[in-house]
């Protein structure tokens, strides 16, 4: 789907979030120069086309007690990585699963899976289980827990910097 200028204005207007008022789409429309019905119609189309992955509450995991946040990375042979990614993403505790490029020699891993849990030990045990279940235990892998959060907010696509 090719984004129209109106779609772009709408996504820009949405960056800070939907206002917490009775008629939020009308307010969004005022910001984007669209009427309320056009806003909801375009949002439905953007979701259907996959441009908007989801529209709803964006929650911070740590604040609801999910403090063990493990970026699990694996070096999967190129001819298997897509199949492994598709299988891993179906596991209940894997929230996101992505393929990214290796950067040798600094970074040998090409598959990233985010696993969230309440306790570090339980998350590590779950990751071991997942790797074993999927026959991945012998592949080079690493688990990078987050230790400090410096920033977390929604993405901004507009060029704001000078």
């Amino acid at each position: 789907m090719e984004l129209t200028p109106a779609d772009r204005r709408l996504l820009d207007a949405l960056e800070g979030g939907l206002p917490l008022v009775s008629r939020p789409y009308a307010v969004l429309g005022e910001r984007a120069g669209l009427d309320e019905a056009e806003v909801t119609r375009r949002l439905a189309a953007l979701q259907a086309a996959g441009v908007v992955k989801r529209l709803g509450l964006v929650v911070r995991h740590h604040e609801i007690g999910y403090r063990a946040n493990a970026m699990t990375v694996m070096d999967v042979p190129d001819d298997q990585v897509d199949a492994v990614g598709e299988r891993l993403t179906r596991a209940a505790d894997v929230t996101l699963c992505y393929r990214r490029p290796r950067r040798l020699p600094d970074w040998p891993y090409n598959l990233f899976a985010m696993v969230h849990g309440r306790e570090r030990e339980a998350v590590l045990a779950r990751i071991d289980e997942l790797l074993a279940e999927h026959g991945l235990a012998d592949l080079p892998h690493a688990v990078l827990f987050s230790t400090r959060r410096f920033k977390q907010r929604g993405a901004r696509y507009r060029a704001e910097a000078a």
């Binding site: 939907l18 393929r99 410096f150 696509y157």
Partner: protein, 159 residues
């Protein structure tokens, strides 16, 4: 902020049901919060009050859209190996870039991980080059090549 210092926010039954039901498919009717209240058996005022509360306490980043990568612009995951004694200073430098939306310290030789989002691939590359130049530390560029599955949000099991 150290992850261990982030306090778990107590949630009531309505908070939990809002989080379970509405991380995706927010109603696209003129009064979505009223529709959500109707589905949960509470008033629009209660829904708005709980969402304000969740936002004030930091549980709710926003009610909004998660945009698919590379559809409305460009983004990348960047990583740096920062000497421990410089971590605060370099994290502050990275945070100051408006194009950076997530920035975490992680347990690895590559210990600083952040997401850069901008209007174009070139604009993202400029931000990485600028951070590398100002910090004197190389920045790995790990753009998404493929996303697997559908982003359903986060399914908590309440303790």
């Amino acid at each position: 902020m150290t992850i261990a210092d982030i306090h778990e926010v107590p949630l009531d039954a309505i908070d939990r049901r809002l989080i379970e039901a509405y991380q995706r498919d927010l109603p696209l009717c003129p009064e979505p919060y009223a529709a959500m209240g109707e589905a949960l058996g509470v008033s629009e005022a209660v829904v708005l009050d709980r969402l304000h509360h969740l936002q004030e306490r930091g549980v709710l980043s926003r009610v909004g859209a998660v945009i698919a990568p590379h559809r409305a612009g460009w983004s990348t995951l960047a990583a740096m190996a920062v000497p421990e004694e410089r971590l605060d200073a370099v994290a502050t430098l990275v945070n100051a870039c408006p194009e950076v939306n997530h920035n975490y310290a992680r347990e690895h030789r590559l210990n600083l991980w952040f997401v850069v989002t901008a209007a174009s691939r070139e604009a993202v590359a400029d931000v990485l080059a600028d951070i590398a130049e100002r910090s004197g530390i190389g920045v790995l560029d790990l753009p998404l090549e493929r996303a697997y599955g559908i982003d359903l949000g986060f399914k908590p099991s309440w303790s």
